[in-house]
Symmetry: C2
Subunit: 502 residues, 2 copies
């Protein structure tokens, strides 16, 4: 076999796995959007079968030989060429897969399925005693997984790498330290401000059909291609990149709350525009994947927060919003802007504002590192959680449902996932600052409703690169420096000192 033939085999193998992934994505979307109530039970076996089909292909015995051949070839000459990137990524995932004992993989999958179902049942009742043994087992299994995958400094690094390649606990600790200090200082000034939280939008009415039409129009104007996607309603907003020409988003609406539905649409559009901008001519190959959860999140956060919660954006859009929603006619732009940028320390991460959000993540990151190090036992987790909430955010959960049991992630063993949310915010601010330097006055463009220059910049710098670089390398190449949380702190300082006049 020549190395060209081996490379073709690898491409076909990779594409088939991707196509099975697309089928899984369609079934997942269907299960969130279209399935009849009695159809759920059947999906358990269906999802397991597709996962098995995918796993069989991922562990195809022939891949090692093919990789051996292409790795000796001239295809690696330029490490940033498409074939070299593909080979690098195939090798990484193939080796990773082979390090995980079959028994452990099965045990984790089973514990994750059970954990999620126990969590769903016990969370509404704040029943920690019921959930604790599941989580305890998952943490043990994840420690075992970290050992199997090997690591240099911290077991946490082996888990984190799955979500944000190359990131380590050691590199994140100083980032969270610096960020946390800055955020707490800003939060204190905001708390002391006499311009209290904006309640201008409280108790107003926003008919859901109007919200959908309005959000669709705005998403389309930002650059989300509805010919290659669609917008539906689901219990939790999400984006799914099914394949070229098909990246779908969902949102949920509340007719007394403008922000929830609207900003979810913009957030998910940011993810979906990333999918729509990937190098789709290489679909099925690793180069055509979002590089990491953090970079993916930077795209949603930039459009949601840096663009769509800004003054220039609403200078352009507010008259149109007032035209669509009668209830906004008595709310002036300044009141509106303060309402959609209200800062209040709260208990729940998913409802948190931009300033406090990352303190929620810091809490989870610190607890996760301690758990994987065995410095903290699952039995002691609720107390540790509650103490840290008071320390970081100044609020104490009245129960576990709004405390340690609030997020789904741990129940399915997703340990190491949370930091990618904060990395998304940090990347977004650093990239946005760079875009402003390179494109020029973005604010004036937004005031005129011109978003194409920013989208084109992201297309060129981020989307079309796919997985060519590692996330940290991509940030360095695009912005000229390493990840620097100061950009995010500066961005918050500028926005919130203006809004709260502090």
């Amino acid at each position: 076999m020549t190395f060209e033939e081996a490379y073709r085999h690898l491409c076909q193998w990779s594409a088939e796995i991707a196509y099975v992934g697309s089928a899984m994505a369609i079934c997942h979307w269907d299960q969130r959007i279209s399935i009849p109530p009695k159809g759920h039970q059947h999906r358990i076996g269906l999802n397991a079968t597709l996962a098995k089909v995918r796993h069989e292909r991922l562990t195809d015995q022939r891949v090692g030989d093919w990789l051996g051949l292409v790795e000796e070839s001239e295809l690696l000459a330029d490490p940033l060429s498409v074939p070299a990137v593909n080979i690098r990524e195939w090798r990484r995932s193939y080796d990773r897969m082979r390090k995980i004992p079959e028994d452990l993989a099965v045990a984790i999958a089973r514990a994750a399925a059970q954990g999620e179902s126990v969590w769903e049942e016990s969370r509404p009742r704040s029943d920690w005693e019921k959930f604790e043994p599941c989580l305890d087992q998952l943490v043990s299994l994840k420690r075992e997984l970290a050992d199997a995958l090997e690591y240099e400094d911290e077991p946490y690094d082996a888990l984190l790498d799955d979500y944000e390649r190359g990131a380590t606990a050691g590199s994140l600790v100083p980032v969270f330290d610096r960020l946390g200090k800055g955020l707490k200082a800003l939060l204190e000034r905001i708390g002391a401000s006499s311009n209290g939280p904006g309640s201008a939008l409280k108790k107003l009415n926003f008919p859901v059909e109007d919200q959908v039409v309005f959000a669709r129009e705005v998403a389309a104007q930002l650059g989300y291609d509805f010919q290659a996607g669609r917008l539906d309603v689901s219990a939790h907003p999400f984006t799914t990149g099914i394949g070229p020409g098909d990246a779908r988003i969902t949102s949920r609406y509340d007719d007394t709350d403008f922000s929830e539905g609207f900003f979810a649409v913009i957030h998910e559009s940011g993810h979906a525009m990333y999918h729509q901008g990937l190098p789709l001519e290489h679909w099925g190959e690793p180069i055509c994947r979002p590089v990491s959860l953090g970079i993916n999140e930077s795209q949603s956060r930039m459009w949601e927060n840096m663009v769509a919660r800004s003054l220039p954006f609403w200078k352009y859009l507010y008259p149109k919003a007032q035209e669509r929603f009668h209830s906004l006619r008595d709310v002036d732009l300044k009141q509106f802007l303060r309402s959609i940028n209200e800062v209040t320390p709260g208990l729940i991460r998913v409802g948190a504002d931009e300033v406090t959000y990352n303190l929620h993540v810091q809490l989870r990151f610190e607890l996760e590192v301690a758990l994987t190090r065995n410095d903290l036992q699952v039995a002691d987790l609720p107390d540790a959680w509650n103490e840290k909430m008071v320390d970081l955010l100044g609020v104490a959960p009245p129960d576990h449902a709004s405390g340690v049991m609030q997020d789904v992630h741990w129940s399915s063993g997703s340990i190491g996932y949370f930091p990618t949310y904060t990395l998304g915010n940090l990347y977004a601010a650093q990239l946005f600052s760079c875009a402003r330097r390179e494109i020029g006055d973005l604010e004036t463009l937004f005031e005129r409703g011109e978003f194409e220059p920013l989208l084109q910049w992201l297309r060129a710098k981020i989307h079309s690169q796919g997985s060519r670089y590692e996330p940290s390398g991509l940030i360095k190449v695009v912005t000229g420096e390493e990840l620097n949380p100061q950009y995010f702190l500066d961005y918050l300082e500028q926005r919130y000192s203006a809004i709260y006049e502090v």
Copy 2:
């Protein structure tokens, strides 16, 4: 390995193939209902990959050994027991699969994909010259397939068996002869009637939203469980049985035509109720499949025609229809009934009434048998078509689009499929007559809006039997006699002599 272990392996193997089939059904439904315009190209590779995954499993080398073990066991003691039926069906499909050379299977799949795409392009232009070579190749390949599959009397039988197990050209010829004579005689009397076609519904308005609500209500009342299904709009109405708790239907609506949307919903509900009534505790095993296309079609036709186009049914429903649709308030029940039962010989099968419909099928059946025998060449097909149309229906197609090129079936090589439509009508009439004998006065029940007795009878006699019997055996067991077209002729005679007063 014990025979019990072998049987468990077979069940698991069978269920995995069924789950992959469910995923294909979901992707197919999505492609008809939800896909964004730019997503279609990607689906070609996705569909091909799932088909490949399914084929790999179908041809699993271990199946022969497992079958060998269970076939020597006591599981076959009662040939109508669930295990015996499953083993019989696994053996049948396994042997069939092994008779088809890989090359031939690939050639047919490729020619079918190409044929359909050429047909789609050339049909609107009536471009027979473009389509002819594709069809010629498909007919040759299908002759080859028939030889590979082996047959006793006619090559056609090997193809027909795929759609209606056990049916043969030899058994269908006398059925179509008798049927054709009876239909032509009835048609002549109707044509000579002074009570011309009912045009009471022409140019009336039926708002689409009202049609959807009305059809949903009626389908639910007939017994279609919307908790285990859903109703959507698609270009061509269809039913898809995804799995237990999930059998979906679609329809299409025209606001100037009440019949099209309404009867499509009832027709598809008939299919879906069959799926909902299968022995679902055995889902994934052959016993839990619709036994044949003909039996499946009998369920849709019975509800659509025997029930929902009958006088007793509308005695019950017409006041509700008049309440929903203002435009019906000036149309009396007799006019309405004649309109929805209008008989007119036409060019197009899918738009044909109950009386002329089976003459369209007879034409295709006779041409297909001649083609597979090599008595007719594809080049001579258009002339043969046109002659037969005049002979059977008294109309001559002005072009190929409304003649030989009207149906999609041949373009994908589906030769032997058409007769199942007529078998569906014949089975439906024979079963309905038997139901009336056993349940009692169905007409009085329908007048009172009571459909549960008929559904329960079908559940017990047909649905819950799954694939236990062959189609002809099922009809014999349920009705006590072989397939007999006289029931259908009697049914038509009774209905149309009343409506047309002939």
